[in-house]
């Protein structure tokens, strides 16, 4: 498959506060998805998400977020916003923030366009559906989907 657009869902399905990404993955994998978008269960891959950047033009990450919306909801961040609060050094639990912060230094070739669809608060079915829908639109259209 000559895919250059990717949706990568990250998180830990066994930890309630971190399960949003895997839940959106399940929502997407059970629905029709266009052939030119690759859907990836990023799980707890952490820095090993690097291998998925190869050859991608646009990547949409889906992950649980904290501290952006006091009452919860679905938000969209760019790579800079999402990496602003990264821990300064790597740890076993280094998450998407660390990955996005270090990505420009370690990626070979042109960086893909990156968006993060964040789910704040309990990942109920409304948020899961909305995040899935938004992710598909952004993967297909990029910034145009946000206007």
């Amino acid at each position: 498959m000559d895919t250059t657009k990717k949706i990568i869902c990250v998180g830990n399905r066994y930890q309630p506060g971190d399960s949003a990404g895997p839940l959106v993955y399940e929502q997407l994998v059970n629905n029709a998805i266009t052939r030119d978008i690759e859907l990836i269960d990023g799980g707890l891959a952490g820095l090993n998400l690097l291998r998925f950047m190869h050859g991608a033009d646009r990547v949409v990450f889906i992950d649980a977020v904290n501290g952006f919306r006091p009452f919860g909801g679905v938000i969209v961040l760019d790579a800079e916003d999402a990496s602003r609060h990264a821990d300064t050094v790597f740890g076993h639990s280094a998450g998407l923030s660390y990955f996005l912060r270090v990505l420009p230094e370690v990626h070979d070739g042109k960086l893909p366009e990156i968006f993060v669809v964040g789910i704040e608060g309990a990942p109920d079915s409304d948020k899961i559906l909305k995040a899935a829908e938004v992710s598909l639109k952004i993967a297909a259209l990029g910034e145009e989907a946000l206007n």
């Binding site: 066994y14 269960d41 952490g46 820095l47 291998r51 076993h92 070979d108």
Partner: protein, 512 residues
């Protein structure tokens, strides 16, 4: 005589998977007591009860994003034992290669992204090598940090090729593996192993694997370091010089008991041989008091909960009979961790690359521990050089795979019974003890490396390994206790699977 000035400090340890807090008592500037606190309840064992016999293959690799192959290996080996299935040579090799790929990546990332991150702590700004350390280890920018991330990103592709995905893969099954690699797959994996090996030799060692493997004593190590600029300035050479400068060879001794469950089965007719010719494992099993090695018997393992937040069982239970019953009420003043306290023949023991080296009778590490004792320095040295032990076997085994031969032996449905799977995660000994009854899991106990290393006290009030290793450590600045971080991180703590979710903000508490 003046009374010593006593102070209790709490040190939440960042850069650890899961949450770990270290509490120490300082008398003047020396640690006189230490408590290791796992602050999360895991409960994976309880999740597995009453599920289908194969569910451990899917659930346990998801315990941790770093050690998923190790958990899968242990789960599969336990089911191999229960089903009585003989795993074909090809599958033994693939399982080994996957585990080794996880180890060599983890060793490099722990060493140069987590452990040496403390080398640029402001406490060391007056050190002669500090500026060079910053150039190598500065977060997000240091040339070693970037180099390690770049050159460790592909080695796990070997697992993806064999197993379809990493982490959380489930391709190991009782009787072998579920995939059927072709010659093209094998050649791709060979390329990845060779590429990693070439980088490791050039950048980490600064010499060939053969040259490094000739380093067999502390004196040899000093001679190797001074032998050439490429050794002196390699990542390993710089680690040795800087770690000694800041005194890591003088802190973190601990009990000096070592345990290895053994790992990496030697398949029949393989040209790969372990250091111990009597073992059928590349890394043998054993227990050592200092460098005196005793035969290993898993029946001697007991888990204590006297100081753990579980219902008491008066002295410890073998994992086939151990339970995971959270119980904290009323004993807050005594119990202090969600981690249990595994003991071997009644004794605490550390596990990890140094334990592997000691049990394997590796001459360099045997000599260092025998003459200078254990330390944070030698523990990390073992981790940084473990790939040199593994890479030659990886190179040989990938060539011994025969795609014309089988990768799976048909296994009938899992029968009722019990079995255990022993192996090593990158941090040390890992075991799964499983019992199947009426075609369901009725008992599952997991003992992880960090349960050994980071255990609280046992029923005899004996400290866990890194608690003991902290005793007598001098903390120069209690506001910046970097020495505590060195000692604990030399064990490569990974609490996520050690504790049986508290997700809290740490901004208001003190970080190392």
């Amino acid at each position: 005589m003046n009374n010593p000035k006593t102070k209790i400090i709490n040190a939440p340890l960042n850069r650890v998977e899961g949450d770990l807090e270290i509490r120490v008592r300082l008398e003047d500037d020396r640690v006189s007591e230490a408590w290791s606190v796992g602050v999360m309840f895991r409960g994976i064992e309880n999740m597995l009860k009453n599920r289908g016999p194969l569910d451990g293959l899917v659930i346990t690799p998801r315990i941790c994003g770093i050690c998923s192959t190790a958990h899968l290996t242990a789960a599969a080996k336990a089911l191999d034992a229960i089903s009585g299935t003989k795993v074909p040579t090809n599958a033994v090799i693939v399982r080994n290669l996957a585990l080794m790929a996880e180890h060599v990546q983890s060793d490099m990332r722990h060493g140069f992204l987590m452990y040496t991150a403390d080398f640029v702590n402001p406490a060391y700004s007056g050190q002669p090598l500090y500026d060079e350390a910053v150039k190598r280890y500065e977060p997000f920018k240091g040339r070693t940090v970037i180099d390690v991330i770049k050159h460790t990103k592909e080695i796990l592709d070997t697992i993806v090729i064999f197993g379809g995905q990493w982490p959380h893969s489930s391709y190991m099954v009782p009787g072998g593996i579920a995939s059927n690699p072709k010659m093209n797959d094998i050649m791709q994996c060979k390329y990845l192993i060779d590429k990693f090996a070439a980088w490791y030799e050039k950048r980490i060692l600064g010499c060939s694997l053969e040259r490094w493997l000739n380093v067999q004593s502390g004196a040899d190590l000093d001679a190797w370091l001074d032998e050439s600029e490429s050794h002196f300035n390699s990542e390993l050479g710089f680690y040795i010089r800087y770690a000694r400068d800041i005194g890591l060879d003088k802190i973190g001794q601990g009990h000096t008991n070592f345990i290895s469950f053994g790992q990496l089965d030697l398949p029949e007719n393989s040209n790969v041989k372990g250091r111990n010719q009597n073992s059928n494992l590349l890394i043998p099993a054993g227990f050592a008091r200092n460098i005196e090695i005793e035969p290993f018997d898993q029946k001697k393992i007991f888990e204590h909960v006297a100081f753990s937040w579980y219902a008491d069982d008066k002295g410890g239970k073998h994992p086939f009979s151990g339970e995971t019953k959270p119980y904290a009420t009323g004993e807050e003043s005594k119990k202090y961790s969600w981690t249990k306290a595994p003991r071997y023949d009644g004794a605490p023991a550390e596990t990890g690359p140094l334990a592997e080296m000691i049990i394997s009778q590796h001459p360099l590490f045997t000599d260092i521990v025998n003459t200078m004792g254990s330390s944070a320095f030698v523990r990390e040295l073992a981790r940084l050089t473990r790939p040199a032990e593994l890479i030659p076997a990886m190179k040989q085994w990938i060539m011994e795979l025969d795609p014309q031969e089988k990768f799976y032996t048909h296994s009938s449905n899992i029968i009722d019974g019990e079995g255990f799977g022993l192996t090593h995660a990158s941090r040390g000994a890992l075991g799964h003890w499983v019992s199947i009854s009426n075609k369901k899991i009725n008992h599952y106990q997991i003992i992880t490396p960090t349960a050994w290393n980071g255990s609280p006290r046992d029923a005899d009030s004996i400290r866990g390994p890194w608690e003991e290793a902290l005793i007598h450590t001098t903390v120069k600045d209690s506001e910046n206790p970097v020495e505590i971080g060195h000692v604990v991180r030399s064990f490569d703590p990974c609490l996520v699977c050690a504790v049986h979710a508290i997700q809290g903000k740490k901004e208001n508490v003190w970080k190392i």
